[in-house]
Symmetry: C2
Subunit: 469 residues, 2 copies
């Protein structure tokens, strides 16, 4: 067995103390396989001499690496590379992450214009709120969320959305989906969902142990009069602006769903995802205001401010607060304190209202441009669901949706087909259409996206058949 | 049926337009029961006259409330309060939140000193990072977490903790618990855990469908040589500083657990909760460095910076990244972008290292004061686990733990008994002790907390029995 030493070339580079540099160099030599398991290392005195470092630095580095399991030290056998520290096998070299594919034109109905995030105002709120917060804000917090935020939200939701709640009945979540999953865990029995909606929401509910039952959607929103027949104990609705078909829930159905809840003990889950954006008049207030003991109001700032801040809330019936907090659990999934404090300030100082007004104007301009462009270039395509929100539905001639989506893909245009939102168990009344999100593109890219859209749409029928033909 | 109107006194107050004020006043009158279901409201012309507002303002307010379901409007029947809008029953009035009980002296082993949160430096990082971030940072993000943060963490963890990883193998979570739950969902089979540990971690694993098997803990950490007999497919360890008993995992056991993982295909989950805090020498590097394909390194800033920021990470074997991302799901539980960006800057600019050095000094002073105070006032109590971390274990004479905890409670001292951490299925070798967290109290309160602790401890036996007696 040779006494290694002369050929142990270590290069000491990078930050940190000499000891840290020696340890890093040894770890790298072992991990790469350059120093094989069992190799005997030079005595620490020789290493110190070779590297021009203090003896006790070399001795400490050896001792640390023995403590870490890289080296072994035994009486009479010297210091050796531990047997287990083999290098990574080639197949384990980590793959680089696949690059996130960004379409040339993005008209997917998902998120607001990221370039419109109000950085300066947000930073002002962060600074003011973090500076003013009590020290306990940075300790283990309240699972309901920061009291400042629940106070600001209770006031805002009452004023802007007609929600009847109090800070004690609000629970802050890491976004809408987190809130829906918590409710899925708390509820018993199947949950009725709109027959057109996000598959992602359905899978959150099934992941929490619920089954989902489709409720047909027509021009007046979900047909809540059919709820009783479903056997569901809860219903998830988008009353302000049905997603994706685009209409508000009819006033009589708003009342009828409350009746159903009172008669059966059922719970209404109100997904108020874009309630702030209405263009023809004042936004319709939340259904929750009609009966706060039967309706959970779920909201977030994902559409109004940014989906990257991960902040949402549940306005709960008093009796559900403790159950939801138990499902939320100890310390797991709370939203970060910086954003919670900042949002409380952002709402309280009026910046949130200002931002919403500005975005409402911006999205209304885009909606108007969408409608005008289609009227000029594709007058045979009917647009619906345009009174509110960040998306519209284009009705396509039956059978043309798949070809239209293929044409869009060829043009680098990301856009959703209506059929992608259909509940797999929904009664077969397929509608062909496109769901167009006009929130996502940056201002300068919106015109080109509309142009691509018009190109992808099926042409008008050139020779319409005679009536009754 | 009377034609209401004259007696409809509405007080228009608060923010917003006249229409919003009218709507708010009407909603409140209905919600409180002052306007009963079925009540006929005055014609909008009369209301406008009564309130001194424009006619179309009154008409719009009525129309909005009809759309919201508060009112109904039928030809020939006028506008009425809807039947369903009954007031909240008295038993549904929300209870105020129970006040968070704050003990006079808090020596629970949980969180760092919240008063030491480096607000100014954090705000500097928030400002710089949010200003510099690309616009897409505020759109729908990467479920792995921000690339800036994964880059900064990969570099930091390699340098400070000997972790071998890359940005592609890091997944940002909303704290340690979130990461552990994701792993629980991805793993199959039972998970071995240390026989003394956090019940909260065990319940996270069982909540994700795993069973937990206790692994005995002695002065050299977990007895990993007994792993094979447990049938576990994964093991959760605290190698740097066993929680709560306080020792590091012995170097031979570090190697042995890697051997076990290689022989059985098992996975080691390394909970590196306070790895940065070691007082007698350089912190021991992570076990993960010995075999990044067999060990998941779980870390967070809950001990090092603040548990309120909700940021943690998993350094994963390459083959597990996709499975963990699938469990993480679409948009649900990501950490907020402000804190992610800020932490990346905070690490990269050196503020994190500076903060850790300052806190290490502060906690070392407290530890020294704890040891010195006990040596002076309770020399019969052995202190262990003091080389690292934010807590120590005081060994108590057998059978005295319950009385000591009661005495502490009477003094307003929050402190944990060792038995609270014992796995319910652990072999019966109960140890009496207290787990003392010295991180939580503010600087000015630490002396008084130690004083209360010494008062609560059992007195020295006055007449020790003769040996063998």
């Amino acid at each position: 067995m040779r006494a290694a030493g002369a050929d142990l070339h270590l290069e000491l580079t990078g930050d940190g103390s000499r000891r840290e540099q020696v340890m890093r160099a040894l770890r790298e030599a072992i991990a790469s396989g350059r120093l094989a398991p069992g190799t005997r290392l030079p005595a620490y005195r020789s290493l110190a001499l070779d590297l021009g470092i203090a003896r006790n630095t070399a001795a400490e580095a050896y001792a640390e690496l023995v403590a870490e399991g890289w080296l072994t030290a035994r009486q009479g056998s010297g210091t050796r590379v531990a047997r287990r520290s083999t290098p990574l096998a080639p197949e384990h070299v980590p793959r680089p992450a696949p690059p996130v594919r960004r379409p040339r034109h993005d008209l997917m109905p998902s998120s607001p214009d990221a370039t419109a995030f109000p950085r300066a105002a947000w930073l002002t709120s962060v600074r003011r709120a973090v500076a003013a917060a009590p020290a306990e804000a940075f300790g283990v917090g309240d699972p309901r969320g920061r009291t400042e935020l629940r106070g600001a939200l209770a006031e805002y939701l009452a004023r802007a959305r007609g929600v009847r709640t109090s800070p004690e009945r609000l629970v802050i979540c890491a976004g809408f989906a987190h809130g829906l999953r918590l409710l899925g865990e708390v509820l018993g029995g199947p949950v009725a969902v709109e027959s057109y909606g996000l598959a992602f929401h359905r899978s959150l509910l099934t992941g929490a142990g619920r089954t989902t039952v489709p409720l047909p959607v027509d021009d007046h929103g979900a047909r809540v009069e059919e709820l009783a027949a479903t056997g569901a104990t809860a219903v998830l609705l988008t009353p302000a602006h049905q997603f994706p078909t685009g209409g508000p829930l009819h006033p009589e159905r708003r009342a009828a769903v409350i009746d159903w809840a009172r008669a059966t003990g059922g719970l209404v889950l109100e997904d108020d995802y874009d309630g702030e954006f209405r263009y023809d008049r004042q936004p319709v207030g939340a259904v929750q205001g009609l009966d706060p003991e039967r309706v959970v109001h779920l909201g977030s700032i994902s559409k109004s401010l940014s989906p990257a801040l991960r902040l949402g809330w549940l306005a709960l019936p008093g009796r559900l607060v403790d159950e939801v907090l138990a499902a939320k659990g100890e310390r797991e999934l709370w939203a970060g304190v910086t954003d919670q404090l900042a949002l409380a300030d952002f709402i309280a100082c009026g910046a949130y209202d200002r931002h919403l007004r500005a975005m409402r104007r911006r999205y209304q301009r885009r909606r108007d441009l969408l409608v005008a462009t289609l009227a000029a270039r594709a007058p045979h395509i009917r647009v619906s669901g345009i009174a509110a929100g960040l998306h519209a539905v284009l009705e396509l001639p039956p059978g043309t949706e798949p070809d239209t989506l293929r044409a869009a893909r060829r043009l680098g245009l990301a856009v959703a087909g209506l059929s992608a939102y259909r509940h797999p168990d929904a009664a077969p009344s397929p509608r062909d259409g496109l769901v167009i999100g006009y929130g996502t593109p940056p201002e300068h890219g919106f015109g080109a996206a509309l142009d691509a859209l018009c190109t992808a749409l099926p042409p008008a029928p050139e020779h319409p058949g005679p009536p009754g033909g």
